[in-house]
């Protein structure tokens, strides 16, 4: 493995990068920011929500990227780090849920919004992410069996649509930011399905292409 690949595989570097959004909050850049000072709960709510979304967008794009760029060092290191990245999606979602409690200010206010679809979609996504985070270790893979474990983690695609809805619904007008993040993600998923379709087409017709042996 070359030097570059070795750096990319460094777990400590990954953890540092994954924690950097939190460290950044305590820098003057954020602390002086007017939007932060005006309504810190709202600002941080959106901030950690975005952190979760961005990491999620990367994690869910790993498989399609591997199909398209199977030899890329960067893509392969993303695949190598997929598990801790996935857990950090949950960690930021958990922070987001926690800050949401402070944003609403009280338990009664906290639960009042749960009947609204916009909030409900977030809660459903959170529950799935929780299940996936708990089972993100080798012991659970053995316990569930790899087939069931894989099924469970395919719920990530449900999370994808829940989050697209949840993020689009929170914007006041239109859904610019959501489109910006998720159009490439969805494009990659489509590409991967097309590639998979082509591959299965080839194997299905492989026998037909064999010379007939009399």
């Amino acid at each position: 493995m070359n030097r570059f690949a070795r750096i990319l595989r460094n777990r400590r570097l990954l953890y540092l990068l994954l924690c950097s959004p939190i460290i950044f909050v305590f820098t003057p850049y954020i602390q002086i920011n007017t939007e932060f000072r005006a309504d810190p709960a709202k600002y941080l709510l959106e901030y950690v929500g975005l952190a979760s979304t961005y990491i999620f967008a990367i994690v869910i794009s790993v498989t399609p990227l591997r199909r398209i760029f199977p030899k890329s060092t960067v893509v392969n290191s993303l695949a190598y780090h997929r598990r801790p990245m996935g857990v950090s999606v949950f960690a930021y979602a958990f922070l987001h849920f926690l800050i949401y409690y402070f944003y609403t200010g009280s338990w009664s206010e906290f639960v009042k919004d749960w009947e609204k679809l916009f909030i409900l979609s977030g809660i459903m996504a959170f529950v799935i992410l929780l299940l996936m985070a708990i089972t993100s270790n080798n012991r659970m893979v053995r316990k569930l069996g790899s087939r069931h474990w894989k099924r469970l983690h395919q719920l990530a695609y449900i999370v994808l649509f829940l989050i697209i809805y949840h993020q689009a619904a929170q914007e006041k007008t239109g859904f610019r930011e959501t489109a910006l993040i998720f159009t490439p993600v969805l494009a990659l998923q489509c590409w991967r399905m097309i590639l998979a379709g082509k591959a299965s087409f080839t194997t299905r017709n492989a026998s037909a292409n064999q010379p007939k042996l009399d």
């Binding site: 003057p28 850049y29 002086i32 920011n33 007017t34 939007e35 000072r37 005006a38 309504d39 810190p40 709960a41 709202k42 941080l44 402070f102 944003y103 609403t104 200010g105 009280s106 206010e109 009042k112 919004d113 609204k116 916009f118 619904a169 929170q170 006041k172 007008t173 239109g174």
Partner: protein
Amino acid sequence: MNIRKSKPWNLPESAATPEGDYLNRRNFLRAVGLGSGTLIGGSITRAATGGFPSTKNENYLLEELEPTEFDLVAGYNNFYEFSYEKGEVQKLANQGWKTEPWTIEIAGHVNNPMKIDVNELIKKVGGIEQRVYRFRCVEAWSMVIPWDGFQLSSLIDLAQPTSKAKFLKFTTFYDPESAPGQKGGSIDWPYEEGLTVEEARNELTLLATGIYGEPIPNQNGAPIRLVVPWKYGFKSIKSIVKIEFTSKQPMNTWQALQPREYGFYANVNPKVDHPRWSQATERIIGSGFFSKRKDTLMFNGYEEQVAHMYKGLDLRRFY
């Protein structure tokens, strides 16, 4: 005519902190490289609107509430003409956008239509006064703001509306070169708002030309804006260029944009939720991360002065 007498508690202008000192007191932050993009160290353009210093109206001191810090009032703005980001508006609105001289057109069903300079208008209505009002945004946050201005009813008296006039339609400026947000986006510029004549004549309705005893900063809607404190903030249209007296209810911009969420009346009402969030409580701007929300008051606490206008009106239907 509004004869202004100097009250003993009214400080002379010479006692005020010189504006240069006021802006430079945070120079050290600029030295550290944190000046740009924030109010601290940034410059504010103000139109030289007349009538200052204003006198406080004792009926509207609202002493039980603490006014929101000036930096937040002038730095946390919904002004989509400049940016969708509340923190970006202050910078963009002060990059050369001229808010003086400024002419307002008064038109429609009136006996006395006019095109008048803002400072002339202030002289004609007899000067300005300061009132402290609650301000409640539809996004469920609120501020307490000392506005300087005059009652809209004074302007209505000047204009002499005919019996055909049932509504007032307000229009904001249109200048995409100065206001980049107007170059596109989902809004059909310029921004428009409306009130019934009765609402416009209400004692609370103000045309504001200043905040905190000084001419209003650009990002707050210089040089003249509406303040309707018992309604959600989007009704308080900024930077007015035209007031038209109409017989038909005007279509206000937010209702045209999202009719299921924003209506014409937009009265503050804790019992009628926004489709996506509750309106029963509000976050107080500047109160910090751990602060509890405040219970939203019916008509934003102005029930006594405005409830009579809506007797018999189904406020759930007419949101």
